[in-house]
Amino acid sequence: MRRLLLVLPLLAFAVARPAHADFLVGARAYQDGDFVTAIKEWGPLATMGDPRAQYNMGIMFSEGRGVPGDIGQARSWWEKAAAQNYAPALHNLAMLHIAGEGMPQDFATARQLLIRAAAQAQPNSLYTLGKMYAESLGGPQDVGEAFKMFSEAAKFGHARAQYNLGKFYRDGAPGLPPDMAMAAQWFRRAAEQGHVLAQSRYANRLALGEGLPRDDVEALKWAMLAAGQGEDSAVGNEKALRTRMTAAQIAEAEARAKAFSPPPGAPGGP
């Protein structure tokens, strides 16, 4: 009996240990582009019910990596992981419903899935759910909820949520008076992540001195960055700024624009 008691934890360890290692072996293989090995490691784990592995198997089928692309199989794996409330699977399943990939578009189901993912603070889910509330997709419009979702996603650094939050503060909403200082702050945060529209809007705030002190050099820098990426709304602002600035100011703005590069890989990046 005593021997059995000693053996049992060892057995449990032996079962749990390789399972953990297999996932990471699969992950390394995946990152090396060896999709066949990744599937060999993740497949059995997924079948045993590991939600991360189930989710990743969904990715392999949705992207056609190591297997022929099959959105039905992807959906089926994501549904298994979503049944365990695994947030990334809830999110991707919602995206399939919104895009109508392999099924008819279904915004109402997507909204419900996103509510479950957003409750786990998944930034991309918070943002998309905010959009659905703002645009009455999959249910009635709820501006208050949209504002809440964008606020939360923005705090996680989601660039598009930050831009949308900036618009909320700039334009105001029922129960939310316009607040130009907050608008400028969120446009700036999104602009710094390379969000082109936010760069144009932030340049406007700086040029007008709305919500922050007027700063032509910074304004021109952001207007140039936005215009240079094809954002038409920034072209007029850039022109107007150039005519009222000194050559030294313009040179400074150009140097700052040239030195700018957004950090890679931020969530909700442009």
């Binding site: 995946y30 582009g33 989710y55 990715i59 392999m60 919602a94 995206m95 895009a99 997709l137 529209l197």
Partner: protein, 200 residues
Amino acid sequence: MLSRRVLLAGLLAVTSPALAQDTNGAVRFMQGLSQQAIATLQAANYSPEQREQNFRHLLAQGFDLDFIGRFALGRTYAQLTAEQRNDYAQAFNEFVLRTYSRRLGGYSGERFEILGARPAGDQDAVVASRIVRGGGPPIMVDWRVRATGGNYKVIDVAVEGVSMVLTQRQDFTAAVGSGGVEGLIAGLRARGDRLPAVTR
């Protein structure tokens, strides 16, 4: 009347070699683009995500996505507000880049051959190519290329004779009919907004 005919003949004489010239330019452009694409896809020491990122960059340079996006939306485009146009352009570009970089990012070992080119319409050239695969029959792909401002850009891709932009136009018209423009934009965005594999 005679002078007009002479003028016309003169114009033709000038235009025809220019068109032939354009077709050569389009072929060279496609050769360059495909070589870069293959180099990107075969680059060692890159994760799938990095490779996808590099490939996206290449597509963004080689395709006139604004033009394709406007065409795909057809008459509806004129009815959009400025904000919606921005949203749409962003969502559409993202959608195309992701779709194609995903579709092509996983490929390897295929051979890309340019078969020739012909003028199309007043200003375009269609570059015919085929992708030779190990397993199945080769895939015929036509690239419609337009020179704007001295730069060549792809404005349509036809796989086995099926035009990408025409197919998209049909799909988009149907989507706008059922879910409105906001529904279409949300749908496009959703394809690009899926999360990647978890590796930790």
